[in-house]
């Protein structure tokens, strides 16, 4: 069932969802890799626990923002098989919409408050 048609506007996305999309934009990732990458990117501020991580993945699969690619071992980590996810074209569009929303927000904030060069 194409849920996309029912709820076209998913923005604003939750931070977890947006970060997952950001990571997957670079290529396929498995769950643990996603978690580690997001933690690094946010300087440890956003550490996704397994429940929230897979809860978000579950939701994103349903919304068809991402899809499963296949299950294969991670050559860098260990030999265990892991499930990989990749972003869908729709997921890319939603991420773009979210980025645009954020940009507009930032521009508005800059106009109102002024934005320091180095926050």
């Amino acid at each position: 069932m194409p849920i996309r048609d029912q709820s076209p506007d998913l923005t604003p996305l939750s931070p977890a969802v947006f970060h997952i999309l950001l990571s997957l934009a670079e290529g396929e990732r498995h769950g643990y890799a996603l978690r580690r990458e997001i933690a690094q990117r946010t300087g440890g501020k956003l550490k996704l626990g397994p429940g929230v991580l897979y809860g978000s993945i579950h939701k994103m699969l349903e919304w068809e923002l991402i899809e499963e690619s296949d299950e294969r071992p991670d050559p860098h980590l260990d030999d265990e098989r892991r499930r990989y996810y990749r972003i869908t074209p729709y997921g890319r569009k939603v991420a773009q919409a979210e980025a645009a929303r954020m940009r507009d927000l930032v521009q508005l904030a800059a106009a109102r408050f002024g934005v320091p060069k180095h926050a």
Binding site: G31, Y32, R35, K47, G49, P50, G51, V52, L53, Y54, G55, I57, H58, K59, L77, E80, R82, R83
Partner: protein, 847 residues
């Protein structure tokens, strides 16, 4: 890698908290994620993070899956609205009736009385403390070894008000410490003081006790809640009392009293009821022993022969619940049975539906849904069904409560039946959840057996059928119990209504008149009033005869009585004494066995005559042998002019030994006019009331009713129970029939093809239907055997709980089974109608 098996095992357990669908997909991945995190470093911080993670994500996932399942369920329901509606209705009646009846049981037997420390309050039976003087009573109570306090009360109805405007009111005279004993504080003013008690008898005699505490409701209606009520005067039967206090709202103990006044002690008053408070540390067992001894110790002081039954006491709450208690318990049993039957029925329905959904469940299973996931879906369906039934049941419960409140009011205003009570609501929730589990377990178990990829084996079909037949058998079993119970209660009721009460109630109108406190109070003017009233009534069209009596049959509350004997010899036991006027037996439809009725001539000659009942006469010989002999005690003797069949006055004191006296001073404390009319009684009621009022507008005329109405009032409670039990039995039969119908029509639908083939091979449709009928009746036979056994057991219980209920005989057992079988057979025959319409050619072509 610091692989910690313990934390991993713990995490695995925690993963079980997630809903089945989510777990199926991600449990393995999450476990790995956990191991990865462990590899980064274990510790309290990790576990804290994990717990927060669980706390956030478990409810979120549950909400998603339950919403999904709920949407699915609603789609299924919409597809089969009749099935669903029936299931909800059956459960709603079951849950609602249980909740409603439980609210009664709760109010009467579980909730505390609205008094201080109510668990220690006791009510005495067959016990009179010394009560000839106030001093003796208070000596007794203050020296008691097992009571910390005790009080006495007696109630009566009086005319409240004065000239012109009056109303009937319930008054209690109490020992001065009555309110203290109960721990009840007045909202205004004070309660009684020790020096406000009096000696002597009567309700309103002037004396130190001419003060009153009035009820809150009366305060509102008489004084509009004005504090100036204190010190004002109210008149009881014409005698003034000063209002000194107002009772708190809802306080109406005893017997819906609205006015309390201090006691007037007298030696001969045996209308007192004693209540007490057990001393701290005294157990109920000990108190029961003490009261027996106390009874024997005190009794000689009251100069009466010792009784065969020793004195006893019981918790006040049980005493108040009294007659309602057993009836409520029986009803509770019935509604529990009904709920069980409803649950079995819905379980049956759901099992069948699950069986029909094999294809859907198999496909979902093939698509990766685990057994747990499918069970979760089915359980969600059941929980939703329970919820819907519980909401619908709420309305049934409210209706039940309002019906019971009307037909079986609680003894105290504070004991209202309410479902808005913590205990009742918990009960309702508990019953809903339990029944949900009960009917949900079977379908869920069934789903556990659904195989992936493909259809179920024939073993499964057979097993499913066996389960359903077992359920029908269980239903039949429970239905037989209910049916026989309803027969037994119904017979007891019919017996109650048809028993010969010694009078003919049809066409009789009765009206009460109270002359106390009116200008017509003296002996002579009371007689004049009654005679004038009778003259006027007898002249009315359609009136055949009219008379008066001090007490009406089936209505006597404490009448007069004493040990009357024959020809100056003392009587062996008490007889009821009932003063009446001429023509009483004609008006009441009594049966004169020997001699004659009282006549106007007796009246004119001031004849000292009496009529005795056959039960009284039996001790002395044939009825005719008593005519002309003297009845009475001591020097107070009257000549017997007639012997009548006893009338049922429902008094506890004297059985059916009755002595009717010709009353030359009628109307004290009140009198009942008895009028026999021709034609519909309704036409006469208003006319008789108006005629009585026209004699003297200042005399209160009240309670104008036909004798039929009085009977109906008197037996409203048994009538209610009979109707309720019959209704539930009928409902049970209906449910059982629907269950059997369902199972058979399901079989027919499943075996269409096979039956088509068999018909092609020469079997007739009738023979096939006959075979199906035989098969359909098997579970009934299977349920009948344990059903009868259970019914015999429950009959014993019923006998002990319901007065007059007798275990039913073998014919009734057989009758109930046959009745169910016959109704089921009709259902089965209707369910097999499609067999007759089978198109063999069509069936074979699809082959």
């Amino acid at each position: 890698m610091p692989d910690d098996p313990l934390s991993l095992r713990l995490y695995r357990k925690l993963l079980k908290l997630y809903p089945a669908g989510f777990r199926d997909q991600y449990a393995a991945a999450m476990e790995r994620a956990f191991r990865d995190e462990l590899a980064e470093g274990a510790g309290i911080a990790l576990w804290l993070r994990l717990l927060v993670d669980l706390a956030v994500s478990v409810p979120a996932q549950f909400a998603r899956e339950v919403a999904q399942d709920a949407r699915h369920t609603l789609r299924l329901w919409a597809a089969r609205p009749w099935h669903t509606g029936f299931a909800i209705l059956a459960l709603a009646i079951g849950i609602g009736a249980n909740t409603g009846v439980f609210s009664v049981v709760n109010a009467l037997l579980l909730r505390s009385l609205p008094f201080r420390d109510p668990e220690r309050l006791a009510s005495f039976q067959l016990f009179f403390p010394p009560h000839d003087t106030a001093r003796h009573f208070h000596d007794w109570r203050t020296h008691s070894e097992y009571l910390s306090d005790a009080a006495m009360w007696e109630t009566g109805d009086v005319n409240l008000g004065g000239s012109g405007e009056w109303r009937r009111a319930r008054v209690a005279q109490t020992s001065w410490n009555f309110f203290q004993l109960l721990g009840t504080q007045p909202v205004l003013g004070r309660t009684f003081a020790p020096n406000e008690e009096a000696e002597g008898s009567g309700w309103g005699t002037p004396g130190p006790n001419a003060v009153a505490v009035i009820g809150y409701g009366l305060w509102q209606s008489l004084y509009g809640g004005d504090a100036r009520a204190l010190g004002s005067t109210i008149r009881l039967d014409g005698n003034p009392l000063t209002v000194i206090g107002v009772a708190p709202p809802g306080f109406d103990y005893p017997d819906q009293t609205v006015i309390w006044k201090p006691a007037a002690y007298s030696e001969n008053n045996y209308g007192w009821i004693t209540i007490g408070r057990l001393k701290p540390g005294i157990t109920w067992v000990r108190a029961r022993f003490e009261v027996v001894a106390d009874g024997y110790r005190v009794w000689p002081a009251s100069r009466r022969a010792p009784r065969s039954n020793p004195s006893s006491l019981a918790p006040l709450r049980d005493e108040l619940a009294g007659p309602i208690k057993n009836a409520s318990l029986v009803l509770m049993g019935c509604v529990l049975l009904v709920l069980l039957i409803a649950c079995t029925n819905v379980a049956n329905l759901l099992t069948a539906r699950t069986a029909d959904r094999t294809a859907e469940l198999s496909i979902r299973s093939a698509l990766g849904a685990s057994r747990a996931r499918l069970c979760q879906q089915l359980l969600t369906e059941c929980v939703l069904l329970s919820l819907a039934a519980a909401v619908a049941g709420l309305f049934v419960a409210i209706a039940t409560v309002s019906i019971t409140t009307k037909l079986q009011p609680a003894p105290l205003a504070a004991q209202t039946y309410s479902i808005l009570d913590g205990r009742v609501l918990s009960f309702a929730i508990g019953v809903s959840v339990l029944s949900g589990l009960l009917f949900g377990i079977l379908p869920s178990l069934y789903a556990g057996r659904v195989h992936t990829f493909g259809t179920r084996s024939s073993t499964d079909t057979r097993r499913s059928r066996a389960v359903r037949e077992l359920l029908v058998a269980a239903q039949v079993m429970l239905t037989i119990v209910l049916l026989t119970a309803s027969i037994s209660v119904g017979r007891a009721f019919v017996h109650l209504m048809n028993v010969d009460r010694g009078f003919d109630r049809s066409g009789v109108i009765t009206a009460m008149v109270s002359l106390i406190g009116t200008p017509r109070e003296t002996d002579a003017s009371r007689l004049m009033y009654c005679q004038e009233a009778l003259d006027r009534i007898r002249r009315l069209p359609g009136v055949r005869s009219a008379s008066t009596t001090q007490t009406l049959p089936i209505d006597a509350k404490g009448g007069m009585g004493g040990p009357l004997g024959l020809d100056g010899r003392p009587g062996t036991s008490n007889s009821a004494v009932i003063p009446v006027m001429p023509d009483y037996f004609r008006a009441m439809g009594g049966q004169i066995l020997a001699g004659r009725e009282f006549t106007e001539a007796d009246m004119q000659s001031n004849a000292s005559v009496a009529i005795v009942s056959d039960v009284f006469a039996r001790e002395y010989g044939q009825p005719a042998e008593l005519i002309g002999r003297l009845v009475g005690s001591g020097n107070y003797l009257r000549r017997i002019v007639g012997v009548v069949k006893f009338m049922d006055y429902m008094t506890e004191c004297c059985g059916y030994k009755q002595v009717f006296l010709l009353s030359l001073t009628p109307g004290w404390p009140r009198t009942a006019f008895v009028v026999r009319v021709t034609g519909p009684t309704e036409d006469h009621i208003a006319r008789i009331r108006a005629t009585l009022q026209s004699v003297d507008p200042q005399v209160p005329v009240f309670d104008v009713k036909t004798m039929d109405e009085r009977m109906a009032d008197q037996f409203a409670r048994p009538q209610f129970y009979k109707t309720a039990v019959l209704f539930f039995a009928a409902f049970a039969v209906l449910l059982a029939t629907i269950g059997i119908y369902g199972i058979v029509s399901y079989t027919v639908a499943r075996r269409t093809h096979e039956m088509g083939v068999r018909m092609a091979l020469g079997t007739t449709a009738e023979r096939l239907r006959g075979a199906l009928l035989g098969q359909g009746l098997i579970p009934i036979a299977a349920g009948a055997v344990p059903g009868i056994a259970l019914a015999i057991l429950s009959g014993r219980v019923l006998e002990s709980l319901v007065e007059g209920a007798k275990s039913v005989d073998a014919a009734a057992y057989a009758g109930s089974v046959l009745f169910i079988a016959a109704i089921a057979a009709v259902g089965i025959w209707i369910a097999t109608r499609p067999v007759a319409r089978l198109d063999i050619v069509e069936i074979l072509r699809t082959e």
